[in-house]
């Protein structure tokens, strides 16, 4: 029962074979493929194959008004969309010389840290699933949903907020929001020991993730690694502290690091960052009520807004690493050029290709998730 054009191909006897890993597999938050060459279970060569989520955002943005693009940018990274809005708005504010009111800056910090919490809960849950542990995944996703409830209350959207606009934020926080956020933080903090017991100190995970996908600090710097993945190699670098934006220079927080550089260290850094984000949010809750004033500065009619000619390169620390926007204006009502530098454009391509070599087939998904790679950031 063979097709008519079937011809058997003779090959020399070998244990090597090629495998198409993806575009749909449990290792990644989206569609992303990997072509791996294997000898038995050992990976000899790996090539990333992107493009399954390419929607041409950069081209689309050139054809839309400055303000319309706010609805486009969060879609570039589904698990952590808020930094996209903020980074794009920061660039327009820099070009247009807009002064964001202090209250709006604090609200943005609150929004960003909530997004970081949601993204890290998603990331460690996803990583657990790649090692066959499904309970942490359900817990992570369920607790992330509670953060999404607060997003919905604050912005009207559960995932894509479209809340941070050039000049400030769209509306002020609802009455009683900070109390509800505070009780959510209490709940999430009380869950951290449970996560530890179930996942972060669980020997099933620890033994599985130790020394998997290991890189040294030197390699990490050479490959352009940023964010939690870089901090997991022992370098305490964080855009929030070292290249501060908004009011991060007035907030106290630690930069957790781990020395290992492996999948375990990367998860432990994210675990420590959950605590730091809760700590930052509590400071915002303390200080926000005393900061009065407008939530955005006056901007021209956004439907006929010619942003002055200029260019800006703005960076923020997203949950995945360094996110940057290069925006060029020629004085028109639409951007002339927007370039999105997603942290995953390094992590999901070169870093992953390098780390996969020498590992076993069953660890590829784990390495991918430990890097917290977000394919739409690569494809854009």
């Amino acid at each position: 029962m063979r097709p008519e054009n079937y011809q058997a191909k003779s090959q020399p006897p070998s244990n090597e074979y090629e495998l198409n890993f993806g575009p749909n597999h449990p290792g990644i938050e989206g569609n992303y493929a990997f072509k791996v060459k294997l000898n038995g279970d050992e990976v000899l060569e790996a090539r990333a194959d992107a493009g399954y989520l390419h929607r041409g955002f950069e081209k689309l943005m050139e054809g839309r008004l400055w303000i319309q693009n706010i609805a486009l940018v969060p879609r570039i990274c589904v698990p952590d969309p808020v930094p996209m809005e903020v980074c794009y708005s920061l660039a327009i504010e820099e070009i247009g010389g807009l002064e964001v009111p202090e209250r709006a800056q604090w609200i943005r910090v609150m929004h960003l840290e909530m997004s970081r919490l949601a993204a890290h809960l998603f990331a460690f849950g996803g990583h657990a699933a790649t090692t066959g542990m499904y309970t942490p995944m359900f817990w992570g996703v369920a607790d992330r949903d509670l953060v999404l409830d607060r997003f919905e209350e604050l912005t009207g959207g559960r995932v894509y907020s479209i809340y941070n606009i050039p000049g400030g934020v769209r509306r002020d926080i609802p009455d009683g929001f900070l109390e509800r956020l505070s009780s959510l933080l209490d709940y999430l903090e009380s869950r951290l020991p449970d996560y530890d017991n179930l996942f972060f100190t669980n020997q099933v995970f620890v033994k599985r993730a130790r020394d998997v996908g290991k890189m040294t600090q030197e390699q990490a710097l050479k490959w352009g690694v940023t964010g939690p993945n870089l901090r997991a190699t022992g370098l305490a670098f964080d855009v929030r502290r070292d290249d501060p934006y908004l009011v991060y220079d007035r907030i106290e927080f630690d930069i957790p690091t781990e020395p290992g550089g492996d999948a375990l260290s990367r998860n432990l850094v994210r675990r420590a960052e959950l605590k730091q984000s809760i700590h930052i949010l509590r400071q915002v809750i303390d200080r926000l009520p005393s900061i009065k004033g407008p939530i955005r500065c006056p901007i021209p009619n956004p439907l006929a807004w010619n942003v002055p000619a200029g260019e800006a390169y703005t960076r923020v620390e997203s949950s995945k690493g360094e996110l940057a926007y290069y925006v060029v204006s020629t004085g028109g009502d639409k951007p002339y050029r927007v370039h999105v530098r997603g942290p995953s454009s390094m992590h999901a391509v070169q870093v992953l290709e390098n780390l996969a070599v020498g590992c076993r087939l069953e660890d590829i998904a784990q390495i991918m998730f430990s890097l917290d790679a977000c394919p739409p950031e690569v494809d854009r």
Partner: protein
């Protein structure tokens, strides 16, 4: 330490000819450099001024000037400052040198720019297709590529007008105005 390095950088950039340099803020420096001098400048920044992190390479199509602008954003973990080195190359033939030897992350950005703008980087490890695997048209991020016109030429709106929609429209519902009539 960091202040001294910054002063050193200022002096260095003022000394080099064909380099225009502008401090935009305490942590942002803009450098405009001729395309022949850019690899040397980056080598200097990386080797002597600790700018070891290539944050991104951005490409801008200045079609009116018939030029591409390439912007190399490099970050120093020591001095905590970002240098954006701008250079322009002629749009035709659109060939430039790869900086992969200096910064490995350049491979991704150069491949991306080659795919989206058609700029060829000599010495880059892989100039093959990556994101637009099944695309054989012109590089889509060029300003002379009009995606809307391309869609209208390539696809027919009628093709997406199935029988069930016609049935609904006969009863007065559905998409009653076609997209091209709205525009």
């Amino acid at each position: 330490m960091s202040k001294e390095l910054n002063i050193w950088l200022d002096n260095l950039l003022e000394d080099i000819e064909s380099v225009q340099f502008k401090r935009k803020s305490s942590r942002r420096v803009r450098v405009d450099v001729a395309s022949e001098a850019l690899p040397a400048l980056l080598e200097l920044l990386q080797g002597h001024a600790s700018y070891v992190h290539l944050s991104a390479i951005s490409c801008v199509d200045w079609i009116a000037d018939n030029e591409f602008e390439l912007v190399y954003h490099v970050w120093s973990y020591e001095t905590r400052s970002l240098v954006s080195a701008h250079t322009r190359i002629p749009r035709d033939p659109g060939v430039y040198l790869s900086i992969y030897d200096l910064y490995q992350p350049a491979a991704f950005f150069e491949r991306d720019i080659h795919e989206m703008f058609g700029v060829y980087f000599e010495g880059s490890p892989d100039m093959g297709k990556f994101i637009l695997t099944e695309w054989d048209g012109p590089p889509p991020m060029r300003k002379d590529f009009d995606s809307e016109a391309f869609v209208n030429q390539t696809f027919s709106w009628e093709q997406y007008h199935p029988q069930w929609l016609k049935d609904i429209e006969e009863q007065g519902g559905g998409i009653t105005t076609r997209p091209e009539d709205v525009r």
